[in-house]
Subunit: 507 residues, 2 copies
Amino acid sequence: MITGKNFIGNKLSAKGTDTHKTFNPKLNVENSFDFHAATLEEVDEAVQLASQAFKEYRKISGKKRSEFLNAIADEILALGDELVQTYMSESGLPEGRAIGERGRTIFQLQSFANLVASENWKQNTIDEAIPNRLPIPKDDIRKTSIPLGPVVVFAASNFPLAFSTAGGDTASALASGCPVIVKSHSMHSGTGELVASAIIKAAEKTGMPNGVFSNITGSGRIVGVALVKHPKVKAVGFTGSISGGRALFDIAAKRPEPIPVFAEMGSINPVIITENSIAKKSAEIASTYAGSITMGTGQFCTNPGLILTIENENTNEFIKDLAEKATAIAPQCMLHPNIKRDFVSNGASVSSQSGVEVVAVIEEEIEANFAPTQVSTVSGTDFLTNPKMHQEVFGPFSLVVRCKNEAQLVEVIEGLEGQLTGTILAEEEDYANLSEIVDALQNRVGRIIFNGVPTGVEVCESMTHGGPYPASSDSRFTAVGVGAIKRWVRPFSFQDFPKELLPQSLI
Amino acid sequence: MITGKNFIGNKLSAKGTDTHKTFNPKLNVENSFDFHAATLEEVDEAVQLASQAFKEYRKISGKKRSEFLNAIADEILALGDELVQTYMSESGLPEGRAIGERGRTIFQLQSFANLVASENWKQNTIDEAIPNRLPIPKDDIRKTSIPLGPVVVFAASNFPLAFSTAGGDTASALASGCPVIVKSHSMHSGTGELVASAIIKAAEKTGMPNGVFSNITGSGRIVGVALVKHPKVKAVGFTGSISGGRALFDIAAKRPEPIPVFAEMGSINPVIITENSIAKKSAEIASTYAGSITMGTGQFCTNPGLILTIENENTNEFIKDLAEKATAIAPQCMLHPNIKRDFVSNGASVSSQSGVEVVAVIEEEIEANFAPTQVSTVSGTDFLTNPKMHQEVFGPFSLVVRCKNEAQLVEVIEGLEGQLTGTILAEEEDYANLSEIVDALQNRVGRIIFNGVPTGVEVCESMTHGGPYPASSDSRFTAVGVGAIKRWVRPFSFQDFPKELLPQSLI
């Protein structure tokens, strides 16, 4: 049941008078619930509780934390249709996506539950003493990983479940032994509250300390800024825009005690298509990429926003085919009127740059918050002169660059900002000549996909979801896959400790 | 041979007119060489060369990089007595220390050479494809670690070899595949140039690209700031003061593309001594700690600057004994007149706080740059009211806190800033009651030593040299031990790559 209140630990609380409603973009109407922004007093209360809970929670065994995570998964499923309906009403996304994303969320929670049920993830090492070493004896030193402290997680607009309240950031931080305070996303506060209630139920059922989780609401910046500035918060997870992520990064860096911010931000995910690939598979690639560009209304961080080709006699036909196929796909609803507004204005901004030509755009009248898919094109020479064309257009948009040769294509890649992904579409006869492209791309991205699409981020150990700035604020970590737990822990060494006092896993 | 010039890649260069000399603190005279501060043009040239070299260096095999690191070690040894004499003349440290630190430096280089001779350190993982998985097939995803790009290393004042030109930061960054630009420490520019010449020789002998290493001189902030601001620099390593490290951190965080700064900064390394321990081993502990406080003239980042006791009938006698034994050790030379000046003023600042009593200090006339060892004491109640007593006094100084009971001792620990180390001196009968102290300490430090001294940092896999801020700027990494390589790399994934194009170690 949605109450519109914050969870300060396991207590519902609504001391504030500022309220906001969420919006149903498909029906183009406000939803009915009033959500109470947390007061600064409530923010402080949540952090103090988290800090208190940390003393106990960091010592709870991995096995118990694993039970907690599995219980969260169960309680989310137990929310049943209310969660699915709320999700749809607050995002405009279809039922299949709601159920699929819930499945992904549950899988993530269970993956981290499996991970921390044993101690292997801590990468413990033991260097035994060498008492007779010369010139001085070697001490016994044993290393493990320990949690940083309370983590603030900012929910993402585009994944109301999998990158939000109980998403990958929350699951990995709770798994590591860090209490979590979620700043709920104001576009889907109802979905957020339902999931928060599931986490609180799971915490109570599995005997976790009060304060291990809180859910904080607020539609402006005040609440989020207060959370990041709070001296007892020790790390931040964020998924969203470059401007939002950078603002939090700057606040965290200016604290008396700076704290790490793991922000997964913008990406245009360049796709390189070789001449051989277009020559052989033009129609197939156009169909596949029409699907990838419009998938989820283009609202994925791995959406292919930039396609790099080498201009020859086949290029124009390919671009036309891609644009027609993309705009032939029925337009879909965006997350919120503001997202639609930004999509239209950012798309227009890129397409109005000198040399950019709109190849196709849905121009017929469409429903209020639905997205008019757009494909534009520009020459490599023009692209190289104007970094405004690098900006992310969040939604079903792609810019196809026609490079005059491979050298220019490599120059384009080298001039890009950091990206989550890069994709190469190539034929076997290209393999011998791809090393320059692979090298240049590798230095700009976190993951390269071969003959596939960047959309779809597998949750597995080998996944890297992150990349050089501004794809993420710290490329040394991944936001997806079990490796995400490393963001919230630090190495710790015991020197010459008696066995009686060592953790079991270090003996 | 010392020339007083910068190494811009493998070329000696001295375009600037600003010069400085180093200082022999033992003789209390300037050394003869003039060192030319790099111009901003030379700084840019070094970074451009490094960026160019990175394209090739990141693809050079671990085996070849291993040969390079081993060759550096050999060339440093080949510098022979000139290096030892220069080291002594620029630091006031004795010959035994020079030779010992050279050994440590060589061991570090060889450790990283061993590490990267195989690919294990990259923590490669492979998730094979599951083409028939439902509802969608699983892609083949393989993860490895790749280097960030050119790294700037700031040499430390207190370890002219092991934490300087070819110290742990340089060795780990070169091992990872990152070119290195060292900002030489102006107190030991001659030692720095000699070591730099060894690195350049080794690079040439093993066929490394020009620009893989540069050595930049300058006595003020200008050169260092320009290096950290340069857009082609991708990470920074620093060992030194909190103010210096924080200044670099702030500059790096404000860049259009923020970069990671790994700064190992201040620490007072609390030592907890239980009542049982003092009751049984008072004299022995006093002797051991008199040695640890004065070791290397107290100029170690792990120097025990804070000793926490519980006040009872034995405490005063222990403190008196410790102070007398520490001040009975012959005073030793400090690194530089400025270091001596700061030691005296910081020691006086702590000792002048309300409630602090100087137990013993060397008051007789000593040589110009020698350190007057000092031990002071204060009650736990006074300590808790005044954070000025937490400040690091770099040199042979320790403050003994007399807590009224264990609860107050835990409160003191919880109120401390982050530390590199904590030490517990305890007897077997204490083990059952130590958990609160261990927990509190673990949350404030990177390493706990049991019944030992914090000075002496073993170079091994299980070492953590780092800790919560301000011990280091990013507690998620260690600066000592082979784990230090993780600071300079990021995870990278290949998705559905043909075997022909995968790195050998991922097949």
